[in-house]
Subunit: 473 residues, 2 copies
């Protein structure tokens, strides 16, 4: 039996899926393929009736309703039982409220992002700090402290956040091997943060280049993306956020610390959708990406913070450097010109993608071999061969959802867990067959490469990996 | 006889055209149509043999050679006689050297941009100030002072620079009319600068949105544009330059004055290709454009500088705000990611354009009706109906070249002239039939519209049209 046909686990409960957009539709075939379930045991709740035929194709019941703060307990109460799995793949539905509800019901839970209820991402009455992923994560951590033990709730387990958090551990292991550095004996937080410190990994980019293209060029007043347009819009308008490394010499002029919580990350007083950074991927070479906020930019630096005698002695700078598909770059440019007033038309490109690849990985830099990228290079052609209803972008997410589900079923009493606390080898084992080429590559590129040739630039020549050098101004 | 068939003038000399790219190929049919010439009296000198068939189609002789500082006198000497017309539509050939040579030969001259010889736009041994259009214009003005009277040399007479300089006079006239302000009796520099001051036009954008599209999306490592890719690359890497208005409260942090010349313009210590500004056009609404340096950003504010008793009392801020075609926006984004190392492939889109419009005009702001855009809205369909071998972008240029040629033939002893010194009504008369819809539109949009909603922004709330508000940071 091949790896893309194997049943990883049987599940006796029902999977209640909330939302059925690009990720929900892409994950459904994988659930049917890899999890032993009774035919009637997938229920999808989604306000949009359009994708119901895809649900029917895979024998899933379809409830055309949306969750709100007022109705979600009643609505979920009709379908979710103790021992079931609440799979949250929606936008605009509070992850914290759903995780709490799953806990109360005795159900397992998974999401791919900590979402708030509709509107609060772009609520001008909230401060940037309150609208941040940092704040959303602190709410989730507070819930974890409150609830303590209980059924497993795997939070933020898509591609990124999710898979890339595991990629970081693979990358650290590979760099240590290539530098002849011993690996830690354990698999705990201190082991990994100690390894990262010993290797002197000062900077981690989630470095992604999506080259998928449609044959139909972008129209004026249209937003195109390879995954959720609403999701990208919301996170694009949150403040740019990044884990703030101990090697950084000065806070950015528009940077600020939050006055609550774990303090591993800062935010910039501007939207990520207008904040560009320099990064590198093996296929694309040097590129400009957008510093879009993501949960991994906060959980990873928190996890990798190394303390001695209670003092922080090491933490890497961590952020997303996202080059979305070309049409999405143009969509962002248009959106910025409109002062962030959403375009009136949206186009999600899945079936109409004609070629391209999603190159998604982590770039670990500052160590003895300068920089190392590790990740997935998945072409649209291969994604289509591997699973229906996916493009390259969604498949990297949906296989991570599958892997997170399997892990939760296998480890059903772990309480609320972040990706860093899971077994990365088990996740990689499940995900790898769907990730195209898994590539590791060193580079001598740095954010100082070819700088200051035609114009003097304000760079730190001593330390290539200062965020000041990475940022595009 | 329709306006697109009328012979405007007879010319007894020969037209020697240097360069035969997007503009040269587009202008040739117009020369044949509108200027009375003997069949053998167009000679094209161009190092690239590929477009020769188009020359043949219009009975033009074709010499496959390139001009260099060493050979240009010999080469031109073989074809250019006294009373001929030297039409410079090349890149990488010095406009100052060619204008001097035409003067010596007793020939008329026209170019669309003051070009230096190959390489100096991106010569890292020159300072940004030395690589500026300001410096190139000062060289040309020095030549004018040196040569004095002589055959007419119409410099920088394309669409922009060129047509748009005339649009400013039309716009000033229209605003004065709509505000019930009297028009000056004369047509001299002081009349126009006085009018602009009386109207309180503090800011002029050359505001352009090109929506032309190809059916074939941009490839990785490819630069696409609707006109010269080499030309756009060169000017994109010159410093951002702008006429610096008397209403501006503070020099930009990266701004600098030149230590020579007319002092009407400043430059920023960065390439225009990475410098974004807010602007507005009637079809597109609010957009982000690039502050690419152009000659009109220097000649217009110089011309509109108003003096009393020798003191500068008024000058508008003037700059280009260019939203090139979408594929060119992507090309710039990719180029910036590569730290300005040119892509290995170039694609000029003319015949493959499937739809779109070039909306090119001037936005005059700060006056009693806030802001007024005047310009040409020319669709690809209409451009194709009007003339072969053109897209919408090139036709706006080529008709300006035609009009400048006609004017020079009609006014053969004017010496070196900038567009501001020509008769704008005559130029508009010749050009108008080719410009699609000539539109004037007021707007209440300003660079303060919808600012600071989700994030605090450092804006000047007192004066919307401060450059600090216009600039995107
Ligand atoms: N971690 C990752 O790698 C990753 C990647 C992609 C997407 N995501 C996240 O996954 C989620 C889904 O992404 P997508 O691309 O499928 O989005 P999508 O926009 O394609 O679909 C969202 C779905 O949510 C549904 N929905 C909207 N309001 C709802 C409500 N009130 N109740 C129930 N359902 C509702 C919509 O009808 C739609 O089916 C988003 O939160 C997104 O940010 C995470
Ligand atoms: N003012 C305006 O509105 C405007 C608009 C477009 C272009 N332009 C300018 O017009 C010029 C031509 O633009 P284009 O779009 O046709 O450019 P293009 O790149 O399409 O063509 C340039 C031409 O110059 C020729 N050339 C290169 N080196 C040469 C040399 N050493 N001797 C002779 N010829 C040489 C090339 O072979 C080519 O035919 C450029 O300077 C450009 O900046 C001005």
């Amino acid at each position: 039996m091949t790896d893309t046909a194997r049943k990883h686990v049987d599940f006796n409960g029902r999977i209640v899926m909330i939302g059925f957009g690009s990720i929900g539709q892409g994950v459904l075939p994988l659930l049917r393929r890899h999890i032993g379930l009774a035919p009637e045991d997938i229920v999808i709740i989604n306000p949009d009736p359009a994708p119901e035929p895809i649900a029917a194709e895979f024998d899933a019941a379809y409830i055309t309703e949306g969750l709100t703060p007022d109705n979600f307990r009643d609505l979920l109460g009709r379908y979710l039982r103790s021992g079931d799995f609440l799979l949250n793949l929606s936008v605009d539905v509070s992850s914290v409220d759903l995780a709490r509800y799953a806990h109360e019901r005795g159900a397992l839970y998974l999401d791919t992002c900590i979402e708030p209820w509709l509107g609060s991402y772009v609520d001008p009455d909230l401060t940037p700090s309150q609208r941040s992923n940092y704040a959303l994560r602190e709410d989730m951590l507070a819930l974890r402290r409150e609830l303590g033990e209980g059924p497993t709730a795997t939070i933020t387990h898509g591609a990124n956040p999710g898979l890339v958090n595991h990629f970081v551990k693979v990358a650290l292991t590979n760099i240590a091997r290539d530098l002849g550095q011993p690996l830690p004996s354990g698999d705990g937080k201190d082991d990994w943060s100690g390894l990262a410190r010993d290797l002197n990994v000062t900077t981690i980019h989630i470095a992604e280049r999506d080259t998928q293209r449609s044959q139909t060029p972008k129209n004026v007043d249209e937003f195109i993306n390879t995954w959720s347009i609403d999701g990208f819009y919301s996170e694009g308008l949150q403040p740019a956020e990044l884990g703030w490394g101990t090697h950084e010499k000065a806070l950015p002029p528009d940077g600020a610390r939050h006055d609550f919580g774990a303090d591993a990350a800062i935010y910039l007083n501007r939207p990520g959708a207008s904040t560009r950074v320099r990064t590198w991927t093996p296929e694309a070479g040097p590129i400009h990406g957008f510093l879009i906020t993501h949960n991994e930019s906060i959980s990873l630096p928190d996890y990798l913070t190394h303390r001695q005698d209670g003092q922080v002695v090491y933490r890497p700078t961590v952020h997303y450097a996202y080059h979305p598909c070309d049409s999405a770059v143009l969509s962002l440019h248009e959106l910025a010109g409109r002062n962030w007033e959403m375009q009136s038309r949206k186009r999600l490109i899945v079936d109409e993608v004609v070629d391209g690849m999603d190159e998604l990985g982590v770039l670990l830099a500052g160590h003895g071999k300068n920089a190392y990228w590790y990740g997935s290079q998945l072409s649209i052609e291969e994604a289509r061969r591997l699973a229906p209803h996916n493009n390259a972008t969604s498949l990297q997410v949906t296989v991570a959802v599958l892997a997170g589900l399997v892990w939760a079923i296998e480890n059903p009493r772990a309480g609320i867990v972040e990706p860093e606390e899971m077994d990365h080898e088990r996740i990689m084992e499940i995900a790898a067959p769907y990730l195209g080429r898994l590539t590791g590559a060193y580079t001598d590129w740095s954010p100082l490469t070819a700088r200051g040739e035609l114009f003097a630039e304000d760079v730190d020549r001593e330390d290539p990996w200062q965020f000041r050098n990475v940022r595009v101004v």
